[in-house]
């Protein structure tokens, strides 16, 4: 009777996949144990508790997303970089809604500081260097981009754009918004 071979890593991966299928919040010990053909209690040899697992999935998703963004960014600059970065972000969220939700899981300070979230900020900062924005304003610009990307993507995921009076697709709005952001960064208003 061979053992299923559960490990913390496989648990994290499977939880991430499950999250994409049924939603991050619906990933449960029961469902996870079932997909390994194992009893619930057995999982606790590998994870401390459910929160611990969610953190692991969050870190996994953050790293994966950072990798995707880095790939998209490679060799690009200026508006090209901005769009590629933004698209990588949105594509990931649409391809992996559960993992994206996981990446939004609120981490405690030290965990966050040691996570790939740092790379996200660094990449955003790299994009900003393609524009003439005072160093002191970078933090504001980073927050602007982060807010807009995350806001759009999460509203899109929640289908909050579904009932706009206008039947226009979200793709068109997205590229328009990137145009606007590019212009805004280009003509960054002085303090």
């Amino acid at each position: 009777m061979k053992r299923p071979g559960v490990t913390a890593e496989r648990l994290t991966r499977t939880a991430a996949e499950l999250a994409d299928e049924i939603g991050f919040d619906n990933v449960t010990v029961t469902a996870l144990a079932r997909s390994f053909g194992v009893k619930e209690a057995s999982l606790y040899s590998h994870i401390r508790n459910m929160r611990d697992l969610r953190v692991k999935v969050a870190l996994f998703a953050l790293a994966e997303l950072a990798d995707a963004a880095a790939d998209a960014l490679a060799g690009r600059s200026g508006k090209d970089a901005l769009v590629a970065f933004a698209d990588a972000y949105r594509d990931y969220a649409r391809r992996h809604p559960g993992r994206y939700a996981a990446s939004r899981f609120s981490l405690d300070p030290q965990t966050a500081a040691a996570s790939a979230a740092v790379r996200h900020v660094e990449m955003t900062r790299a994009i900003l260097r393609g524009y003439r924005i005072p160093e002191a304003d970078h933090i504001d610009a980073i927050r602007l981009l982060g807010s807009t990307f995350h806001g759009f993507v999460s509203l899109e995921a929640a289908e909050a754009f579904r009932h706009s009076s206008d039947a226009r697709g979200t793709d068109a709005s997205w590229s328009r918004i990137l145009d606007v952001l590019h212009t805004a960064l280009t003509d960054w208003p002085p303090a």
Copy 2:
């Protein structure tokens, strides 16, 4: 032995208050029943189920937020209106984090169409009329503002800005972002 006098309305209000204290996701039948001095099962005379209650709280929050925004908007126009509207949004989210989270609860199409969410869109559209933006682009601008506001506010709630290398407060970034949005709307790039 006087009866507690539970009603759907009081349940909704209490759930909203509770959400602000302990978080929208942590509002449970048990906690709610306890705060009314009543058994769990008794709540089911007033609501169909937990999801039903969450929807009620979402509608309540959406309406309350729309009222606050409308107040803020009264008598203002141009950038003044934009900033007042945005501030109303952010203030509400900070004063009532649980209700704000509730207002993000994904509603089904018909419920959403009958909700105060419609007023939110209308108010945003009203603000846009203060700028020279082609009617056809309004939907994009609405989505831009909605994304940025929601994105900022939710990242702020998740304390995602906490560990930015820069120790700068979020207030400064917020007002800067509003400046940038104002400029972007003013110099709306042609298609």
